[in-house]
């Protein structure tokens, strides 16, 4: 039976951390060479090391590239801005939110910060939380 005592939150992906201070992203960092990965690891793709530690990713950064997707798979809301953000040396893939999705308002080099938003609540009262970046 579902726990009905309190609404719970679940992150869209497991590398979005909601329960340790301010929301942030976390990566698995190779203790040997410092390479960072967002998924679980068998070994480091850069140096083959097998020892990792969990690290917090900077919550702001610079937009290094983007596209504005106008045509997508069924069920995907368009238009949306997809980009890669350089968060203090770690590249993060994310959407941009809270900005007009056009080339007059989005440009590479702009400074952005992490933001979270609700994806809705399921039948058990669990709310899913997504993340994106927004202009600072």
């Amino acid at each position: 039976m579902a726990d009905t005592s309190a609404p719970t939150r679940v992150p869209l992906v497991d590398y979005l951390v909601l329960d340790d201070g301010e929301p942030h992203l976390a990566a698995n960092e190779c203790t040997g060479c410092g390479a960072r990965f967002f998924d679980r690891r068998n070994a480091c793709a850069a140096c083959f090391g097998t020892d990792f530690r969990r690290v917090k990713i900077a919550t702001s950064g610079e937009l290094r590239t983007f596209t504005i997707v106008a045509f997508a798979a069924p069920g995907v809301e368009v238009p949306f801005v997809s980009g890669v953000i350089d968060c203090d040396g770690t590249s993060v893939r994310a959407n941009l939110r809270n900005v007009e999705p056009d080339a007059d308002h989005v440009h590479t080099g702009m400074n952005v910060q992490l933001t979270t938003y609700s994806l809705g609540t399921d039948d058990h009262g669990t709310e899913a939380i997504g993340f994106a970046f927004e202009p600072i």
């Binding site: 679940v10 992150p11 869209l12 992906v13 497991d14 590398y15 390479a35 960072r36 990965f37 967002f38 998924d39 679980r40 793709a45 850069a46 290094r64 590239t65 983007f66 596209t67 504005i68 997707v69 106008a70 045509f71 997508a72 798979a73 069924p74 069920g75 995907v76 809301e77 368009v78 949306f80 997809s82 980009g83 890669v84 040396g89 770690t90 590249s91 993060v92 893939r93 994310a94 959407n95 080339a103 590479t108 080099g109 994806l119 399921d122 039948d123 058990h124 669990t126 709310e127 899913a128 997504g130 993340f131």
Partner: protein, 399 residues
């Protein structure tokens, strides 16, 4: 090391072949490539075949149409580099001394398939956020954490180059597409051979900024096949076969070495640069020796970065290289005179052999209206996301 030569090669008309299946198309290309080389299936010591979207075992299915001799078949799959991988597999067999002649074929039916990449699972019918997969995602991440679609991924590849070096805007990318569509008007085998004005390209339906529809590779049907032969074996064939044979001066396949960000946005640059470096070393030439290049312009935004990755310009100089007029067919280094993937079309597994057919066609002096006069050396490049990069350098026969 013995030399490797292309003895026979063919591509089918690219486009919509509603009444023919992949086996029909591939068999047409194989029969024509064999005839082009003046040989039969009895001469083949090995066969490599690629068909990405099919059910598997395409090589054996083709054999049942063109000749079953019991030779080894390698069915290969390497994203958009599948055709080049098939060719390289046949070449490796010859280099290993296991055969002196081999067949490579790639075929795809993609007409009307639409957008490639993207989608993913939706939230379950039971309406429960349940973490699944490598990232513990509770629902599809496409469109929520960036884009999985090819036009969007490659748009970011081009925009990243623009951010790094400047000068690459929507209009610049559209001009690259304008060039390739203009080139296609001379190619009777292209899926589309319509010239577009810059205004038409920029005003067409936006797919993923800055790529509009005509700036995206055209999904279509098609096949291409090649017969490769060892230098020793070629010497035993007729003078006419020797005269038309095209030397494979370099055959290289690479994957993407780890780079920061490569698991966030595919890095199509490093593996192409590595492949180009090795290919030029193998061939003993440099980019300045090339007379034409067929490179993987799956999107207009991709063509720009590969000018740089293939060393056709100085590092960071791709925009200036394009603006100089160099890659137009009357420029100093024509790129994609076939019309490229944007107009010739991109039947995925056929592409990596069809681009070699294009280069061979010019080196043999058989390209008709679109002949690059006096072409002696050409380069063919493909890249498949994941990633795989194939580069072949081809040289005209001295015979």
């Amino acid at each position: 090391m013995d030399e490797i030569w292309i003895l026979g090669i063919n591509m089918t008309k690219f486009g919509k072949h509603t009444d023919r299946d992949v086996v029909d198309l591939a068999s047409e290309a194989v029969m024509a490539a064999l005839a082009d080389g003046g040989v039969t299936m009895a001469d083949m010591g090995v066969m490599a075949a690629g068909n990405l979207m099919g059910s598997g075992g395409i090589g054996q299915q083709i054999q049942k149409q063109v000749g079953q001799t019991g030779i080894a078949v390698y069915n290969v799959s390497n994203a958009c580099a599948t055709g080049a991988t098939a060719l390289r597999t046949a070449i490796m067999s010859i280099k290993a001394g296991e055969s002196d002649m081999g067949l490579a074929v790639g075929v795809e039916k993609l007409a009307g398939v639409g957008l490639l990449g993207g989608g993913g699972r939706a939230k379950k019918d039971g309406n429960e956020w349940e973490p699944q997969g490598r990232f513990g995602a509770v629902t599809s991440t496409d469109g929520r954490i960036g884009t999985d679609t090819m036009p969007g991924v490659f748009a970011q590849v081009g925009m990243e180059y623009g951010h790094k070096y400047g000068g690459a805007d929507f209009e610049l990318f559209a001009k690259i597409s304008e060039k390739n569509h203009a080139h296609s008007t001379l190619n009777p085998l292209a899926a589309y051979s319509k010239r577009f004005t810059l205004e038409e390209i920029m005003g067409d339906m936006m797919i993923a900024y800055p790529n509009t529809r005509p700036m995206c590779s055209a999904n279509c049907d098609g096949a291409a096949a090649a017969v490769v032969v060892s230098g020793e074996k070629l010497k035993t064939l007729s003078l006419e076969q020797q005269r038309r044979a095209v030397k494979v001066s370099a055959s290289v396949l690479t994957s993407d070495p780890w780079q920061e960000a490569c698991q966030v946005l595919p890095d199509v640059n490093t593996l192409t640069r590595n492949a180009a470096k090795t290919a030029y070393e193998q061939a003993g030439i440099g980019p300045e020796d090339l007379d034409l290049v067929e490179l993987h312009d799956c999107f207009a935004t991709a063509e720009l970065v590969h000018y740089d990755n293939l060393g056709l310009c100085e590092e960071g100089g791709a925009v200036d290289f394009f603006n100089s007029g160099a890659p137009w067919r009357d420029g100093s280094l024509p790129v994609n005179v076939s019309g490229g993937l944007q107009s010739k079309g991109h039947p995925i597994s056929a592409t990596g052999i069809a681009n070699i057919w294009e280069v061979c066609h010019h080196l043999r002096g058989e390209a008709g209206d679109r002949q690059i006069e006096g072409a002696k050396v050409g380069l063919a490049h493909v890249i498949g996301l994941g990633s795989a990069c194939g580069i072949h350098i081809l040289e005209r026969s001295a015979a």
